[in-house]
Symmetry: C2
Subunit: 345 residues, 2 copies
């Protein structure tokens, strides 16, 4: 089959990988319909994080082509959303909501396991991993939003959940990438009354406003912190969502978080923060890789009901043959997030 | 009046300070009945944190001797518990539960403001700060427990609340000082089923067991982490409470916290922690100085009802004339926490 191959920094090319087959009775083979490029793929592409040579891509929706004998919960022909990791949903960590720590789980597109940027994927632990989508016909906009649940929207939601966003809150979202935009949408969905988005790009500001941002701050660093304080009567935000992961963005998120609040962190964090800076203000943090499998069912309902449309973060699209363009568009900041059309529904 | 005077590291002596008088209509003058020495006082005593020359001590109970014209909520003759900071309880931070960040608030015993280690205290914002104790006669054990609410028990409770301790949880408490012991008691009070205390001193192990610890681990560092994992089937604790503040104790707390949990941090933290160490396990942190004023009313009810007896952390006592002994006993680890008898009820 055709699949994107990570060959090293700057080199993601279309290539061939073996057609996936059922290896374990708990496997399913899923024919990919839509895939996309994650902000974390870009870290690999830029050589800022290591990635094995081979399969890549961990976000996809597709159709179950074959299901192993022990697979329960999904059947051949089902349209399914894949969370970005597979998990057994029966271990103590999964049962506690931490699918990312499932000892039996693992990552799609890690060089060895099939990736979402390919024609098909062998999905381990398919019954507990894949979430079937009710109904048989869905407009393209809905399919795009379902794809977003695979990672980016679940991650934005995780930022909001980790920070404890609740009805009536004032939220500040640091980061206007696809995750930051989804964090805005997730905050609106959870009832935030005021959503302050830090963004300096006109197209992303527009997207943020469409997702529910009520205020946009173009400044960064100290100036951005002061702007948030000015907007909140000197109090700070009830919840700050950190969706970047740089030392500066982390410091900004903590500085705009009001005393006693929790910063939701979903950008893979770089650098360190002195505890003492946050201790005396009682600002904490929660977050990490999102337990997408836990969130997808509830978000999926809202996508099908037209309540949320996270698929709007895809502002560039191509096909598998042009996978290199999908990366380049994001690397050159021409795209917020690249969608890859792989197969028919 | 007589009062302890901080003169520099290693030098806390009995001395004279002006008799406190009402300066603002919101002030009260409280005659101190019991005071004590805090673990943070010891940081000053040891020269590890800076402290101004002058008044010291921020934990006390006493009797209102005089109340300013605008003081509501407490009256002359009332037995009161003072939280370790004063606050207005009407600003956005106080109303949000963050009394420590009250702009009108401040610390007792900071060199200038009267301290709890003295015969009397001018209490600013007395009506919103002091918590009156119902009833007129209380056994000495109850008075000691009321004193503990001023800081140490409220702080242990804050660790448990920050970590989200709930009914049925397995909790690990790092630190067997007075705060750690109170964190054990607070965890039991909140319904924790299993409480693992890290302690290597026989007297503190005994106190921990009396407060509700079900398991004691004497090891430290990696060995302690492994012991907690062994006790929890490799999962880790539902909640880890960090009650020390050293780099090692913080690392231990994060390592024993199960994925997805929150470490409650109340030991003033020293050093840094790499975010990346905790991010991929989704372990967060919350904590800081306790909003004692928020907690005292609910804890006070349990003290009067005999449900909790945090006053047992006081295992050394003396009077104001021997304040230097109170510090020495703790500095030399002969005492968990020193009580100072100041005046009659």
């Amino acid at each position: 089959m055709k699949a994107a191959i990570f060959k090293g920094p700057g080199m993601v090319e279309i290539g061939e990988r073996p057609d996936p087959v059922i290896q374990e009775p708990t496997d399913a083979v899923v024919r990919v319909v839509l895939g996309c490029v994650c902000g974390s793929d870009l870290w690999y592409y830029r050589g800022e994080s290591a990635h094995a040579v081979g399969s890549i891509g961990h976000e996809f929706i597709g159709v179950v082509e074959q299901a192993g004998a022990e697979v329960q919960g999904v059947r051949e022909g089902d349209l399914v959303v894949a969370p970005f990791i597979y998990s057994d949903m029966s271990c103590p960590h999964c049962l506690n909501g931490s699918t990312i720590s499932c000892p039996a789980g693992g990552n799609f597109g890690n060089g060895t396991i099939d990736g979402g940027q390919g024609e098909a994927v062998r999905v381990p632990l398919a019954g507990s991993t894949l979430v079937p989508v009710p109904g048989s016909e869905h407009p393209d906009a809905v399919l795009r939003s379902l794809l977003a649940l695979s990672d980016v929207m679940s991650t934005g939601h995780h930022a909001a959940v980790s920070a404890g966003v609740k009805k009536g809150d004032t939220v500040t979202v640091v980061g206007d990438g696809a995750v930051g935009l989804c964090a805005v949408l997730a905050s609106r969905r959870l009832g935030a009354e005021r959503i302050i988005a830090l963004s300096r790009h006109a197209d992303r500001q527009k997207a943020a406003r469409e997702f529910g941002a009520t205020d946009i701050i173009e400044a960064r660093g100290e100036e951005a912190v002061q702007a948030v304080l000015d907007l909140t009567g000197g109090i700070g935000a009830d919840a700050a969502l950190e969706c970047v992961g740089t030392a500066q963005s982390i410091a900004t998120a903590f500085a705009v978080a009001r005393p006693g609040s929790t910063v939701g962190i979903v950008g893979v964090p770089h650098g360190q923060l002195s505890f003492a800076e946050t201790f005396f203000r009682n600002t904490g943090w929660r977050g990490g890789p999102a337990p997408a499998r836990i969130y997808i069912p509830e978000l999926l309902g809202d996508v099908l009901d037209g309540v949320i449309d996270p698929g709007r973060v895809f502002d560039y699209e191509t096909d598998l043959d042009h996978i290199a363009d999908a990366y380049r568009a994001m690397d050159e900041r021409r795209a917020i997030k690249s969608l890859v059309r792989v197969g028919a529904l």
